[in-house]
Subunit: 127 residues, 2 copies
C-alpha cells in the first residue's frame, strides 16, 4: 500500500539540509521581527531584546549578515550602526510569520501533550 521511503531524503526534500540552518539560531526570528518595521540601530534592538546579552545579539546579527539577510551600516550623524533587512531577509520574515502563526494556534495543544507525556513517563522527567 505504502510506497517505500526514498533512500536518501536529504537532497530531495531540502537542498543541503537547509531547514535547520537559520532556525537553529535561537534569537534570529525575533531579531528579524524587530527589523520588519524599518532599519534599527544596535541600541534600539537591545531594548526589546534586553534578555539577550550583547555578545549573543552581536553573533546573531553577524550570522544574519553573513547569510545576506540583513545589512550592517556604520553611520555618522547620528553616530551609530544600523541594521536593515535585505529583500532576502524580508522574504524570510514571512516564513517566520507562518511559523509564529502555527505556534500561536497550537501552543496550548503542544503544552498539554507535553504535560500528559511527562505524567505518563515519570522516569524521564524526575526520579
Amino acid at each position: 500500500m505504502r510506497e517505500p521511503l526514498p533512500p536518501d531524503l536529504f537532497e530531495e526534500l531540502c537542498p543541503s539540509g537547509v531547514v535547520p540552518i537559520r532556525f537553529a539560531d535561537k534569537w534570529a526570528g525575533l531579531v528579524l521581527a524587530c527589523l520588519r518595521t524599518g532599519p534599527r540601530r544596535y541600541s534600539e534592538l537591545r531594548v526589546p531584546l534586553a534578555r539577550v546579552t550583547p555578545r549573543v545579539l552581536t553573533r546573531s546579527l553577524r550570522n544574519l549578515e553573513r547569510d545576506g539577510l540583513v545589512t550592517r551600516t556604520v553611520s555618522r550623524r547620528p553616530p551609530g550602526v544600523e541594521y536593515e533587512l535585505t529583500p532576502l531577509g524580508r522574504s524570510l520574515t514571512e516564513v517566520y510569520a507562518t511559523v509564529c502563526g502555527w505556534a500561536a494556534q497550537h501552543w496550548d495543544e503542544l503544552l498539554d501533550a507535553r504535560e500528559r507525556y511527562d505524567a505518563a513517563h515519570p522516569e524521564a522527567t524526575a526520579g
Copy 2:
C-alpha cells in the same frame, strides 16, 4: 518616522518564545516529512535517515512524541514499532513545507551571500 520598538517582544510575537522549539531539533523536519505518507516503522525511518545514528533518531522521535506530534505504537504481526503523525503533527508538516519551499527558492542566494561575506572577512573564517 519610525515608531519605537515595543519594550518586550517575547510575549507579543510568540507565546513563550515558541519559535525555536521544534526547529531547534536538527532532524525533526525530515522525520516529520518521512511520516507524511503514512505510518512508518522504526526500521523504515532508518533507511532515508541513515546518516542519523539510532540514538539521535530515537531521541528525535521521543521529543516529537512528547509534543504530541507523532504517536508510537508497539505492534505484533508484524512485530515492530510504528510511528504515525497526529493531526497536530500533520499541521506542522505544512509549516515545514513552507520553510522548505523558501529554502529551495533562496538557498543559492544565501550561499552566495555567505561566500561573499567570508571573502570580505578573512579573519573570521581562517587566519
